[in-house]
């Protein structure tokens, strides 16, 4: 066994580094260093650099944006999934808030307990619960439903990358129709996934909760407004964020935001807000674009552009019909130009976004 002094030396190093109080009166105090440029950033860095997300990860971007507008007085219960894996490779963490990971299926249950504990202690710290689409649409579905039904004061955010990406791109109930995954491959029988994407937002809203909304990484201002709104609500709130996955969707890592933008602009991923089960707000689409413009950038839909396969054209028309259906039922086609429609909300000018960040 190494001499004890070695350990205390290491302990001291750590204390110096992290600014912890000295163990004894004779130990030197950590020098207060000038804040680094990174520490001076005018935003809360809840999810810090050095995480192991892939290049161009939409989920990492979404989680960073959520933490910026939710933090710092929050705690996170994280389900199993990409986000959990890439942010906390032992013995490091990218989180700068209290953060718990237990299992795939129980993030909502853990969050419920955390919220109850905070309430018992008389604290106002907001509890967030994070999960991917697998943990939310499928595996953690019942615990989510229970949390909503018990009316816990928790903001649940699901990062929807439309398949089990962490384990190697298996289909989930959130995978869109006709997308190719390793468990819904393209072949002689099928053109990718046979079934439709589960409309989880409607199911969640049917719990009659105060606020449920969808957002997209393509519109950070809109996403952060929704987070801030949900943070101000007492009771269960729910946010689903469309988060492209360059690896699973098979697209260039530079196109993450471009693809997310096209998903919204074609109508396949409608941005809507529901309060107490009723549709209260939508983001109008200024100029709806064909779904093909969204699909053709992604390898998981490449089979839809195969020449001389009648099924390709049929599935393409099917997806177009699904997008048109969304536009019709949510009334996404705006009347004239709106400063917060899909075109207006993205606009910038010298010095920042045109519409401001409120």
């Amino acid at each position: 066994m190494a001499p004890r002094s070695d350990n205390s030396k290491r302990l001291n190093e750590l204390r110096m580094k992290h600014g912890r109080p000295p163990a004894g009166p004779n130990e030197p105090k950590a020098a207060k260093a000038e804040p680094t440029l990174r520490e001076q950033q005018p935003r809360f860095r809840g999810l810090e650099s050095g995480h192991r997300a892939c290049q161009g990860c939409g989920e990492a971007l979404a989680a960073r944006l959520v933490m910026e507008s939710a933090g710092p007085d929050v705690m996170v219960a994280n389900a199993t999934g990409c986000l959990e894996v890439f942010s906390t490779p032992w013995p490091q963490t990218a989180w700068r808030v209290p953060w718990i990971h237990s299992l795939f299926e129980n993030a909502s249950a853990v969050a419920s307990g955390m919220e109850a504990a905070m309430k018992a202690k008389g604290k106002n710290t907001k509890v967030l619960s994070f999960g991917g689409d697998g943990a939310t649409y499928d595996i953690g579905f019942q615990s989510l439903s229970g949390m909503l039904e018990r009316h816990h004061n928790v903001l649940y955010v699901t990062y929807d990358n439309e398949a089990y990406m962490n384990t190697g791109i298996q289909r989930s109930s959130s995978t869109p129709h006709a997308a190719s995954t390793t468990t819904s491959p393209v072949g002689a029988e099928r053109m990718g996934k046979r079934h439709l994407k589960k409309d989880l937002l409607s199911i969640v809203a049917a719990h009659h909760i105060p606020y449920a909304a969808s957002a997209s990484v393509a519109y950070p201002a809109d996403l952060q407004r929704k987070v801030r709104y949900a943070m101000g609500v007492e009771g269960p709130t729910f946010l689903v964020i469309h988060s492209p996955c360059p690896l699973g969707w098979r697209h260039d890592s530079a196109l993450t935001v471009e693809i997310a933008r096209r998903a919204v602009e074609c109508g396949l991923f409608p941005l809507v807000e529901l309060e107490r089960g009723a549709l209260t707000n939508i983001m109008p689409i200024r100029d709806p674009r064909p779904v093909a413009e969204y699909l053709k950038l992604q390898g998981r839909f490449a089979h839809l552009f195969k020449k001389n396969d009648y099924r390709a054209a049929e599935e393409l028309d099917h997806l177009q019909a699904l997008a048109d259906h969304n536009i019709a039922i949510y009334g996404l086609r705006g009347e004239g130009t709106d400063p917060v429609d899909t075109t207006g909300v993205a606009q910038v000018r010298r010095g920042g976004p045109l519409a401001g960040r409120n």
């Binding site: 005018p42 860095r45 810090e48 050095g50 290049q55 032992w90 490091q92 993205a346 910038v348 010095g351």
Partner: protein, 565 residues
């Protein structure tokens, strides 16, 4: 047991200890300040993007100062320039080019109205003096840039007034004398500039005497002599060349009697356009312009396009000028030595065997038109008196950017031979002054700006608000006279609104997109440490090189370059 790890203390380390920057395998983002297409296209060397950026911050005087660091007479060019900047503007592909010339003119007029000081200091008492021949746009620009570079300038002008072709060949409907006098006066009043009037080269001074007396000699005599014009050797006895006609008209206000009838103007430049419009307004029965070039249209090749200010052409057509494009005068029909008609033939520039384009006349397209007067406007050349040994044919044709034709002697403006606009003359003034200043310091010629130009493909137009071009009032045809300016001015509100349309091509807009959209938190926002004029630095310790910021940068200021580590 060795050293205890952090995990044994149950004390999580920060992921900041893990530098994901070494994941970059193919590309890394960098800030690249490429040239905006307006800047590349500007013969005067203005960086329109730079001064529009200042206007976007409501810094009007600073914007003017940035503008006049290249072009000291925006009030003039805003009125007379064919604005290639607007043709090149990337916003053409979105919802119409910026109204650059209108804003430029407004800035120039504001500077005169409010008496803003030119951003130059008085040259030192012992500063070297440069002699400049000709007080046209090139000469005055050269004098201004000499002062800007710490030299003194002494101008020798043959006529009794400064202004050159601005005064002698551009009608007041395009360039009213009030703004012209005010702007030129303010430049000529700058400390360090001396103007000697009625000093003609070859009569009062010579290149040699100037060279002996001054540190450098800048020759900006312009082109005063009409190019010889004939059709298959025939020259009418009562020939009036276009520029001469224009000068006479500006001096005396009268045109020859034949100008009351049917007139044909042969040529394709602004002088031709001006003379057409003046004759029509003076009562010519009909005025027809015959030009070898093409009219603007979707299929017109850039090298085939008629070289006139686009709005001038529009206005001329409004006023009833007829234009026969892709044609030339192939024969003069004379009664004695007086013209009674012309034969017109269609022609076009076609690539020949060696690939170089030449004019091909199309047999079988001849037609005869009866006319009372033919006015050639086929260009002018340098009056060779006093320039023996320096001219290469009709012009100086210098082979370098600064225009050096001999040691400490530079040629600039129209006299170079390859120029044709006021803006190019102003640009030459700067280039020659910079080259002369370098030569006097014993340095090499200033290096050219070889940055690349950014095209529409490098921009992400999803982030720009739609806004249509500011419409500017024009005098209706019935109210147009020989004096009143035709194009109206714009207001401060309109100018600032127009400035907001600038896409900031190739330069940082400080829009926060890269900062907001980096999944890895690897863009750091800072005004102090971003020495490149942006507000951001990349933290290459963590940047994984995904390219997202490059794609989402509206202006193309972030570019992905191959990773070399």
């Amino acid at each position: 047991m060795g050293e205890m790890t952090r995990g044994q203390y149950a004390d999580a380390g920060t992921s900041l200890d893990f530098k994901t920057g070494n994941w970059r395998s193919t590309q890394r983002p960098v800030h690249v300040h490429a040239k905006a297409p307006c800047h590349t296209a500007c013969p005067a060397g203005e960086d329109q993007q730079a001064w529009f950026a200042l206007l976007q911050e409501q810094k009007v005087e600073e914007a003017w100062k940035s503008l006049v660091s290249a072009n000291p007479m925006p009030g003039v060019t805003g009125r007379v320039c064919p604005h290639p900047c607007e043709t090149a503007c990337n916003r053409v592909h979105v919802d119409g080019a910026l109204a650059i010339h209108n804003v430029e003119r407004w800035l120039g007029d504001e500077a005169v109205r409010l008496g803003w000081d030119y951003p130059v200091a008085a040259p030192a008492k012992d500063a070297k003096t440069v002699a400049i021949v000709g007080a046209g746009p090139a000469g005055i620009s050269a004098a201004y840039h000499c002062v800007r570079l710490g030299l003194k300038a002494e101008i020798f002008e043959a006529l009794s007034e400064a202004g050159g072709l601005l005064r002698s060949a551009i009608p007041p409907t395009r360039l009213p004398r009030g703004p012209l006098d005010a702007e030129l006066g303010r430049i000529l009043d700058l400390p360090g500039i001396t103007l000697n009037l009625r000093q003609r080269l070859g009569r009062d001074v010579t290149v040699e005497s100037l060279k002996a007396q001054y540190a450098a000699v800048l020759l900006a005599p312009g082109c005063e002599k009409a190019k010889p014009w004939s059709v298959q050797g025939a020259v009418p006895a009562d020939l009036h060349e276009g520029l001469e006609l224009l000068r006479d008209f500006m001096d005396h206000g009268a045109l020859p009697d034949a100008a009351k009838g049917d007139v044909i103007v042969h040529g394709g430049g602004n002088t031709a356009m001006d003379i057409c419009r003046i004759m029509k307004r003076a009562g010519a029965k009909s005025v027809t312009l015959i030009t070898a070039s093409g009219l603007p249209g979707p299929d017109t090749a850039p090298d085939d396009l008629i070289n006139v200010v686009p709005r001038e052409l529009e206005e001329a057509l409004e006023e009833g000028i007829e234009v026969i494009d892709h044609a030339t005068v192939s024969r003069l029909i004379m009664k004695g030595s007086k013209v009674t008609g012309v034969e017109i033939i269609a022609l076009k520039k076609e690539p020949g065997k060696d690939g170089r384009k030449r004019r091909v006349e199309f047999e079988g397209t001849e037609r005869v038109v009866s006319v009372d007067m033919v006015v050639p406007c086929v260009g002018e050349q340098v009056d060779p008196e006093g320039y023996e040994g320096l001219l290469d044919g009709a012009y100086f044709w210098p082979d370098n950017a600064g225009g050096r034709v001999a040691e400490r002697v530079y040629a600039l403006g129209d006299a170079r031979g390859s120029r044709g606009t006021v803006a190019a003359a102003i640009g030459d003034g700067r280039l020659a002054a910079e080259a002369a200043a370098a030569e006097l310091r014993g340095e090499d010629d200033p290096s050219a700006d070889d940055r690349s130009t950014i095209g529409i493909d490098a921009l992400n137009t999803a982030y720009y608000a739609g806004a249509s071009r500011t419409l500017v009032a024009k005098l209706p045809v019935s109210e147009r006279t020989f004096e009143a300016e035709i194009e109206g001015s714009i207001s401060r509100t309109e100018a600032l609104a127009e400035a907001q349309r600038c896409l900031s091509c190739g330069n940082c807009l400080a829009c926060d997109n890269c900062w907001t959209m980096c999944p890895d938190n690897a863009v750091i926002k800072t005004a102090e440490l971003a020495m490149d004029g942006s507000h951001y630095v990349f933290d290459y310790d963590y940047c994984k090189g995904c390219g997202l910021c490059t794609h989402e940068c509206p202006t193309g200021y972030i570019q992905s370059v191959p990773e070399t580590n």
